[in-house]
Symmetry: D2
């Protein structure tokens, strides 16, 4: 992670905070009840119930990792397993946080193009597991919408995964660190974009927030469990109103969707210039591009910042604040290589 | 925790954010490297080394609970124990977070007036433990400066505890959720106020911050461990620059001390009016006052907000922003009962 | 634990194995299905269902600690608590095993004469717990029958505890390391001696067995959980038939009760000689006796083995194999002091 | 695991107990100090130091899983990883016990023919891990001698793995559930067969024992840790003398080696009849044979017991007590298919 720091296309995870989020935070400065007893935090259940059209219990978390792992801990016992993609964030980039929050549950790794799962891919890793106490039994499925490679599950794809997982008796979690980008791409209702799952990590931090994501649970008992576990994990900030304010600011007037659309639009502009270089279709705000070291040096010499992706590729990420001119400039630079 | 919400004296943990902290956060808006690779987070080691006059490794945490428990996890194995006061925050108010972060270590509860420990009190619970594998062996000491009842350890008191704990081979942690109030009271160097300990939770949130405390470790190896464990616990925010900014704003120009003094001053004003009603000497910013239910009703009728403390007492807490006129008004109201 | 090793009255936990247990083990030598798929292990559910007159699921464990902790782990979440006596074996002598198996749950310590609990004693520690996420919520009760001081709960005492715990929504566990001694004392049905609890650790090792206790669960779902957790804790011996054989040998012809009666009888003989020296009534097979260091030396000089119990007392334990002549000799020696 | 139960070749893990082990257990019946304070348990350090020609600390465990996981827990922090083969017993057949004992450490799965690892295979999975807090860092290597497919590492192979792992700073563990078979095959000193590793699970249960394996640690500090963790995991049997007796009986007069040789010899006899059907060279006491369902039915009809291995193969395991005539009969039956 010693990549060069530069403006622009490194990641959406360090982008500035949206002005309307700043405003909402300032407006919350006056002291209110501590933890999540304040007026803003107490709105979250209703806001997300409205958004998804079914009863939801929602709580702020300080990271997406926390949201993911609190969700999983409501679904899987310490001796169980969670099926996820081999390149899922929970497997690759959370330093074993799922193991910490679940007290040792195992991630069972499935394959799939573009970090997307299918019922067949899930079945392939689940079917061989013997039904005895010697082997870890799968209890949950976790998928990422949009995926770690910027691909988006369509509602029918999600529904098929949900149906399969339900048939297996699994709990189902969606890591929606970039859920806004997925919904913006699909143009459907949020409920359709995540399906009839049990838990959704609703990303805000990468989408104009500062330090609050939302964990949305569609089951009261799970929410009760998660509230205790959030406290026990040292995540219950006493000035929770500032976290709730961020989330509500993004929900208000569908700012979250506008931000997702903006990022997607910039990504599409860049993708259009990449042609055969694209490693994956660009559906959300990540662009994986085949680029030689020499080509990457050339782009960096022009001031573009991005991460290498292995030896022969790079990852570009747009965000809510990516300027059209910067996207165009990058597109032109790539086209001109 | 269904106490009435009101202005003023409920707790310092939900107070507004200091204007200079707001400024520093706004100044950090521009994207920088994610997590704790940004320019501000990378200053923390040096800033705290300077403050304490010895090599320190410092990291932001999102709560004091996280700081406390990450510290303890560097000192005690899962099969060990941590000596603390029976009314320590880690025992009473963290929903078992020490057990989560240490993977099951036990809190060994000692007694002491005003939630303060002494070597004798520690020895009393440690001495009877048999040195065999059937009993949990103590590995660490955790004390709170200022204590949960607003009392402050003097440097000689701390030194005596440290000497005793070292003799026992313990790691030593200070929960400094209100460390600023303690140092402000003592008027000594920060290093003297915490002694030659291994770890300090340096509280910012109750002292003008928003959502960042600092974990200060005086051992490089422990810091390495804590960094991995912080990530694994889902605490590594990607826009860490906003947390570092809060801490640095408080360190700059000794704002942290000024805030502590302000809160202490307001508390002293109120305490002076309480006379025999005081349950503990008021050294920091908490005032525990004997008040009948009728008296409490009378105060609340005048608009004062505070928590009941059992059936016959109340707790008042001042903060960096407590206005002199409000402190005086409360003092007068109590005197007039 | 560096007490002198001598014959006789040190503990029942290292006594020889009963000849009928040896026979049963030898009879099981022929290879059978591994783990608990053998013919003997598969009898346990039925045997204990018969013994307690209600559906039971039973499994062997290699220690009483394992039985206790597997039981607790079916009742309490990692962020919860278990009420037990301050001197309960799970608190004092299991090196934090309950914390390991429950992933950090807390033992909430209640008081009571002779290590026995009462509803009032339980309520005393439970009532002050605030119903919020900051405090560990109690989820279970664990009591020891016979108690750590050799006292026996009567059926009405147990029933009162069960009724209170049910009212609180607790799961209920009985540590029956010396359950045989309790039932032998009470002369009632086993079901009456443990009440309508959820789980019983049925002790065999101290009662003529070698290395197998039984965990008896009165709930199928809990049993399923416990089976996975037993495997995961490395307790699932592949030659499980030898453990089942021990348990069944003790159940056959009520050998377990005969052994309990024998130990109790020897204890009663000794107790009768102790008069005012007795610290607790002797109801099972432990005798706590006030003895000065000089007196203890005198007894040891006569060849008696026992543990000191603090500075001014000793603990004598009889077992299934305590010879009448040895009990009589000890009684005479104490009387003659 | 609902395979048919039959005599003979199902597994060595349920074989009868060797007569000399029985004798030793009977000889240990007389009460001695409890736990591992008895005369036999106290011999283990010396016995294994002698066996391996360097200082060793050894303790009995009730299963191989317990030995494996206690060893790993001394080497890897909860946020770390252990490299092992994808088909290692710790990955496939211990229901997540490594995750339980290490508090969540991850198994990092390497590939290799016949479940054997090489430095290159280890490096392949270790090299891509980024050295930052977002990814689990490897801390240990675990290999199985003989492997899960009955292959044996030669001393040079072990030495190469040890050298590579040391260069990476790893702790090194050998799962020796069938270590006797490996040493018998190699005909070398035990020390050469396991190399300069940190910990060895020395299998006894599959080799004529009843319910005791030995965990051998070549570091005093690790042994201290493991002793507390063994107790805390509920594994410290009070009549530990019976476990020590089993281990010592196998060490006496090199019975363990004689048993290993007997099992290997029977396996070799069978292997010789399998020709092209063999899936792996037969070096220890497991024989993996390509057999159609019809062929397997034919063998079972002749009374042979074994497990299916996928759809088109079977696993046969010999043990210390496999009779020459039975091995010959099976060889003839396979040859006659």
């Amino acid at each position: 992670m010693t990549a060069p720091i530069a403006k622009a296309f490194l990641s959406d995870n360090a982008a500035p905070v949206h002005p309307r989020v700043w405003e909402a935070m300032r407006a919350a400065d006056e002291a209110d009840a501590p933890y999540d007893n304040d007026a803003l935090s107490r709105q979250l259940d209703e806001r997300f119930s409205d958004l998804f059209g079914r009863p939801a219990w929602a709580m702020w978390t300080v990271t997406g990792t926390a949201a993911n792992c609190l969700a999983l801990a409501t679904m899987v016992p310490p001796h169980g397993g969670v099926v996820c993609h081999r390149e899922a964030h929970i497997e690759v980039d959370e330093c074993g946080a799922p193991g910490f929050f679940t007290h040792g549950a195992k991630l069972i790794l499935a394959e799939g193009e573009g970090a997307k799962l299918t019922p067949a891919a899930v079945e392939r890793v689940v079917a061989p597991i013997r039904d005895d106490t010697h082997q870890i039994q799968p209890h949950a499925l976790s998928l990422t919408q949009a995926s770690e490679y910027g691909l988006v599950y369509t509602p029918p794809e999600i529904d098929a995964l949900v149906a399969h997982a339900r048939g297996r008796g699994f709990g189902i979690h969606v890591d929606g660190a970039r859920f806004a980008n997925a919904v913006a791409f699909l143009g459907c209702a949020p409920a359709q974009a995540c399906g009839a799952v049990d838990a959704l990590s609703f990303g805000c931090i990468k989408n104009g927030g500062m330090g609050a994501d939302a964990l949305v649970l569609f089951d009261w008992g799970a929410a009760e469990l998660a509230r205790y576990r959030r406290k026990r994990a040292g995540h219950l900030q006493s000035k929770g109103r500032f976290l709730a304010a961020q989330i509500i600011a993004l929900l208000d007037g569908e700012l979250w969707l506008a931000n997702g659309r903006a990022a997607n639009g910039a990504a599409a502009e860049i993708a259009a210039a990449c042609g055969e270089r694209l490693m994956h279709p660009v559906e959300a705000n990540e662009i994986f591009v085949r680029l030689t070291p020499v080509e990457r040096d050339a782009l960096r010499a022009q001031g573009f910042g991005f991460y290498d992706w292995g030896d022969d590729a790079a990852r570009f990420v747009t965000a809510w604040n990516t300027r059209e001119e910067d996207a165009r400039a990058l597109a032109a630079a790539i086209a001109g290589l």
